[in-house]
């Protein structure tokens, strides 16, 4: 098998594992969202959202899920800067969840 074929094979495997992992990633985001629904001042839940988006930004964009990667990067950056409140972030996270749901199908 050529190096290129091996690489494509490995990338296909990483993509498949990523698609499977989306269930767990969505779950993590949903749990954080629920926590934030009950009380906005929850640094731990916000950190959880940021951590998951940070990972998605680096990984998804590198394996061809560019839109998910870009959206996750925007959320990560906004949360890191601390300038946007949850009211602004929440619709973006919902959008991200829909996209994650989309690739699971």
């Amino acid at each position: 098998m050529s190096k290129e074929a091996k690489l494509n094979d490995a990338l296909t495997q990483v993509r498949s594992k990523f698609v499977v992992s989306c269930q767990e990633r969505s779950q993590t985001l949903l749990e954080a969202m629920r926590a934030l629904e009950t009380e906005l001042d929850q640094p731990e839940a916000l950190a959880q959202v940021r951590r998951e988006c940070h990972k998605l930004a680096g990984l998804a964009g590198s394996i061809g899920f560019t839109e998910i990667g870009n959206l996750a990067e925007v959320i990560d950056t906004r949360l890191k800067e601390g300038r946007a409140g949850w009211v602004v972030i929440e619709p973006m996270v919902k959008d991200l969840l829909q996209r994650l749901e989309g690739i699971k199908k």
């Binding site: 190096k3 290129e4 091996k6 690489l7 490995a10 990338l11 495997q13 990483v14 594992k17 990523f18 992992s21 951590r51 940070h54 990972k55 930004a57 680096g58 990984l59 998804a60 964009g61 590198s62 394996i63 560019t66 990667g69 990067e73 990560d76 950056t77 890191k80």
Partner: protein, 322 residues
């Protein structure tokens, strides 16, 4: 080349392994935290030649890990490439100050990764060749005067190649926020000829510490460029004025030269070049700014540690006429 990937996202590690394998690097290991990285490095049967470190990790983050690896003899001089999200580009300044050699941004660009790894491989090969030469020469270190040898400064003094990578990544616009100052050990060649290589390296390391201590307030990034030249990059807004900087270096240099006198070693003289920064419309590339800072030491704004006749003449010639 044996490579260690440190990233808290296991799938990203898998992806990097596949990409590295496609460019010929098959001896690649990965761990998911800074603590695991330290443990792997200490227990490895054969040492790692290069490490790729994620910056944002829980526990020991990539910058702290980079700093710790520079103090670890097994990894003190291996290429350390930071792999970071675009949202953390400002963290890269800290990473270079902590001893990083280079950095890559996520999402990974295949061409960028290959280019960076080619450079890291060359550095790793050079390191192995240096160690082999050292072993063959019965532990007597040998390097040419011109070589930007790695210094053992207590404070951050990065490789010149790493500094060049850093300013290239800063780009022309962000370079506007920095000032570069060149320093030259005026009698470096004389020192090189009278000391053995190891003692010369120690002397240059002492000078690096003097420069770093004196410039600490300006968030400096210091680098040794070989041939007795140093270049320091400061924040434009927090840089110390040259006169104050000269005073601070002179005080420390007097103490250092006192010690050298006791050891029977020649005193060190340091020339300081005029600060150089990049204007917003300048055509100079960031690397050219570093080179210009070094050239500016030819007509120094001051020479410390005792003035020799030729320095005095050069200084008089560089003064504006009345």
């Amino acid at each position: 080349m044996k490579i260690l990937i440190v990233d808290d996202e296991p799938l990203f590690c898998e992806l990097l392994k596949a990409e590295l394998s496609a460019c010929g690097h098959t001896n690649v290991h990965s761990v998911n935290s800074g603590a695991e990285a330290i443990s792997s490095i200490k227990t490895a049967e054969t040492p790692f030649d290069c490490a790729l470190l994620d910056i944002d990790m829980p526990g020991i983050d990539g910058i702290e890990l980079c700093r710790l690896l520079r103090f670890e003899p097994l990894t003190a001089d291996i290429p350390l490439v930071m792999v970071t999200a675009r949202s953390e580009v400002e963290s890269v300044d800290k990473a270079f100050a902590a001893g990083a050699t280079d950095y890559l941004t996520k999402p990974i660009d295949r061409r960028d990764l290959r280019g960076r790894m080619t450079m890291a491989s060359a550095m790793a090969r050079e390191r192995v060749a240096r160690k082999t030469t050292l072993a063959n020469n019965k532990k007597t270190e040998q390097f040419p005067f011109e070589e930007a040898c790695r210094l053992e400064a207590e404070y951050a003094c990065i490789d010149y190649l790493a500094l060049q990578n850093y300013v290239l990544k800063l780009g022309s616009m962000r370079m506007f926020n920095h000032v570069a100052i060149g320093f030259q050990v005026a009698n470096a060649r004389e020192l090189f000829l009278t000391l053995d290589n190891s003692a010369f390296r120690e002397t240059m390391s002492d000078i690096a510490e003097v420069i770093v201590e004196a410039t600490m307030s300006g968030n400096p990034i210091t680098s040794y460029a070989g041939s007795g030249f140093f270049v320091v990059l400061f924040d434009r807004h927090s840089a110390t004025c040259p006169e104050r900087l000269a005073d601070q270096i002179e005080q420390r240099l007097q103490i250092l030269n006192g010690w050298y006198a006791q050891l029977g070693q020649l005193p060190v003289r340091i020339k300081i070049g005029a600060p150089i920064s990049r204007g917003l419309v300048s055509l100079r590339s960031p690397v050219e700014i570093l080179e210009k800072a070094l050239i500016n030491t030819k007509k120094p704004i001051t020479t410390l540690g005792g003035l020799q006749e030729e320095d005095a003449i050069a200084q008089i010639q560089s003064q504006p006429g009345e």
